[in-house]
Amino acid sequence: MFEASAPLSERRQVARDMFVLGFDAPAVAAAAKAGQFVNLGLQPGPLLRRPFSVYRAGGGRVEIVLRAVGEGTSQLLSLREGDLVSVLGPLGTGFRFDPAWRSVALVSGGLGLAPMLLAARDARAAGLSVHWVHGARTAWDLGSEWDGEEATWATDDGSRGFQGSAVAAVEEEFGAVLACGPNPMLAAVAERWPDAQVAVETYMGCGTGVCLGCAVPLTAGGYDRACREGPVYRAADVDWPALPSHLYYTAVPVASPSRPSPATGGGEVPV
C-alpha cells in the first residue's frame, strides 16, 4: 500500500454526468489489480477519504470514473490539472482469475463499470476470453470506453442494445461471472450465479481495516470488512437483505442548500 500526493493529470467525460479522472501515482498504478480501490483524500475537503475503484492503471497514472453525488465527488470533479489529491492504495482484495474458466462474463450496471476495464485486462492476462455486459438507464449513461472485442449493452429504456438489466442481458453460459453495480443488482446476480465474484459498496471510515465501519453481513453469520477481505465477495456469501444500499443518488435527490447538485454533463452520446 502506498500514499502519494498526486497531481490530477487527466479528465475526460465518458457518459452523461460521468467523468474519468487520472492522477499521477506511479507506485499505486503499478500495484493496482482489478477490483481494488484507492481512497482519495482532499485537503481542504471532507474529513474522511472517499473510496473509488481503480478504473485504469498504467504509465504511472491511476484513473477512476465517477459521477457527482455529494460533497466529495463534486469537489473531485472541480479539480484542475495539477491540483493535488492524496491517493492511498491500492486497497482491498480484488477479483481472482483462473485460467481453467476459459471464459468470463463481466456484468456491470451504471458506475459498476468502474472495475471492469482492469478486470478485462487481468482476465486476458490469465488467458480467458472476455465478454462484457454493461447496463445503464439510457444510451447516454453507458460508458463510452471499452477496449475489448465483445460487449453487450443494455438500457432500461431500450435506447441502446438490450432493453432491461445487464443481468437479464446475459444469455450464454460462461466459465465465471464477475459483477459490479448497485447492491440490489448484485443481489440479483447472486440469485442467478451464486459463485459469481461481486464487488460491493459500503460506507468506509478508514479503508485500511482498522475501524470496522465497512461491515459486510455474511450468510455464514457475522461481518467482515469490505476494505480488507472485500470489496470482492463470492455472491452467495453476502447476506444481501442485510447489506444496505446507499445508492440514493440513483433516485430523486433531496434538495439541500449545503450540497451541490450533481453536475449536469454535456450529454454526449457514447460511441
Binding site: 474529513l47 460506507y203 471510515g205 482498522v210 475501524c211 470496522l212 447489506l243 433516485a251
Partner: protein
C-alpha cells in the same frame, strides 16, 4: 538536539505523548505506513470476554467536521485476542493496552483476570463509556458508584497499569473522575465519543442502523478539551486527553490544559501518518522554543 518527549503515567514510562486511540487502530497489526518510533503506545479495539458480531451496517456516517460511529464493539473475544494478537504485541517496543468492556461488573473482572500476566498485554483501558452497546458501556460511566465498582473489579485483578476511559455524556464528569481515581485508576482517559444522531431524508430514518452513534473528530475538540481540563483539575493521577486531535497544535492544547499525554483516533482514518505528524510536530515546537523536554511546556491548570 531532539527534545525529550517521554512521559510518565504513574509507573508507566512512555517514549512519547502520542497514543493510538481504541477502535481506530485495530489491534495495531494492520496499520499502514506506521512510523513506530513516534508511537508511544497502542490501545487495542475494545474487547469483551466473548466474541461479539457488532451492529448491522450502516455503522458510520460523516457529519460536519466529524463522524458518527456505531460499531457495537465487534470483536473476537478474549481467547482469540490472546491467541492471535498478544504474541505479536509481546515483540513490540511499545506497550499495548487492551480496551476492556463488560455487561456486568463481574465480566470486567473476569476479562482482566484472563488477560493479566499474558506476555504482550501491557495494561488495561477500562471502557465505561461506549455509547454503542445495549448493556454496560456508557451506563457504568454515567454513575460514579458503578464506575468505581468496575474500576475496583479490574484493579483487584492486576498490577498492570489501569486507565479508565470516561464518557462525556454525563452531568458532572469531575465526580466520576474522582470516584474512579479513589477506586484505584492509574490514569484517566478523557474522553470517549459524544452521543449523536443523523437522519436520512430519503428514508426518514436514522442514517445509522443503531439509531444513535458516537461523535468523534475535530467537531468535538473544544468540548473534549474542556472536559479533559475539568478532569485534570480534579484528580491527581495523569489524564490522557482525547477528542478530535489531528495535528500538533491540537495535542499541545490538551497538554497545556493539564493532560500528560494524548490519544489520536479519527485523524488516522484521513491520514495514516497522523500520529507521526503530531509527535514530530510537538518535537519541532519544543525545539523552536528552545526547550529540551516536554516537561518545560507551561501548563494552565488552576485548581478548583
Amino acid at each position: 538536539m531532539t527534545a525529550d518527549l517521554s512521559v510518565d503515567l504513574g509507573h508507566l514510562r512512555l517514549r512519547g505523548p502520542v497514543i493510538a486511540a481504541s477502535g481506530t487502530f485495530g489491534y495495531g497489526t494492520e496499520v499502514p505506513l506506521l512510523e513506530r518510533r513516534t508511537l508511544a503506545a497502542v490501545v487495542s479495539k475494545g474487547i469483551f470476554l466473548r466474541p461479539r458480531p457488532g451492529t448491522p451496517p450502516p455503522r458510520i456516517v460523516e457529519t460536519p467536521s466529524g463522524m458518527l460511529n456505531a460499531i457495537g464493539l465487534q470483536g473476537p473475544g478474549a481467547e482469540a485476542l490472546l491467541r492471535d494478537y498478544a504474541p505479536l504485541w509481546s515483540a513490540w517496543d511499545f506497550p499495548v493496552l487492551v480496551n476492556i468492556n463488560g455487561e456486568t461488573v463481574e465480566e470486567y473482572g473476569e476479562l482482566t483476570a484472563q488477560l493479566d500476566g499474558v506476555p504482550g498485554v501491557g495494561g488495561f483501558e477500562v471502557n465505561i463509556s461506549c455509547p454503542n452497546v445495549e448493556q454496560g458501556g456508557m451506563y457504568f460511566g454515567n454513575d460514579p458508584r458503578a464506575a468505581a465498582d468496575v474500576t475496583r473489579a479490574v484493579r483487584r485483578r492486576t498490577k498492570l497499569p489501569v486507565w479508565v476511559k470516561l464518557t462525556p455524556n454525563v452531568g458532572d464528569i469531575a465526580e466520576v473522575a474522582r470516584a474512579v481515581e479513589d477506586a484505584g485508576a492509574d490514569a484517566l482517559c478523557a474522553v470517549n465519543t459524544f452521543l449523536g444522531m443523523s437522519i436520512d431524508l430519503h428514508s426518514f430514518r436514522p442514517r445509522l442502523s443503531f439509531r444513535t452513534g458516537g461523535l468523534s473528530g475535530p467537531a468535538i475538540r473544544p468540548l473534549a478539551l474542556h472536559l479533559a481540563h475539568q478532569v485534570a483539575r480534579n484528580v491527581q493521577v495523569p489524564v490522557i486527553g482525547i477528542g478530535g486531535i489531528a495535528g500538533p497544535e491540537d495535542a499541545l492544547e490538551f497538554l497545556v490544559a493539564g493532560c500528560a499525554a494524548v490519544q489520536v483516533g479519527t485523524a488516522t482514518f484521513a491520514d495514516p501518518r497522523a500520529i507521526a505528524g503530531v509527535h514530530d510536530g510537538i518535537a519541532a515546537y519544543l525545539e523552536s522554543k528552545g526547550w529540551t523536554s516536554l516537561k518545560e511546556l507551561p501548563r494552565y491548570l488552576p485548581l478548583d
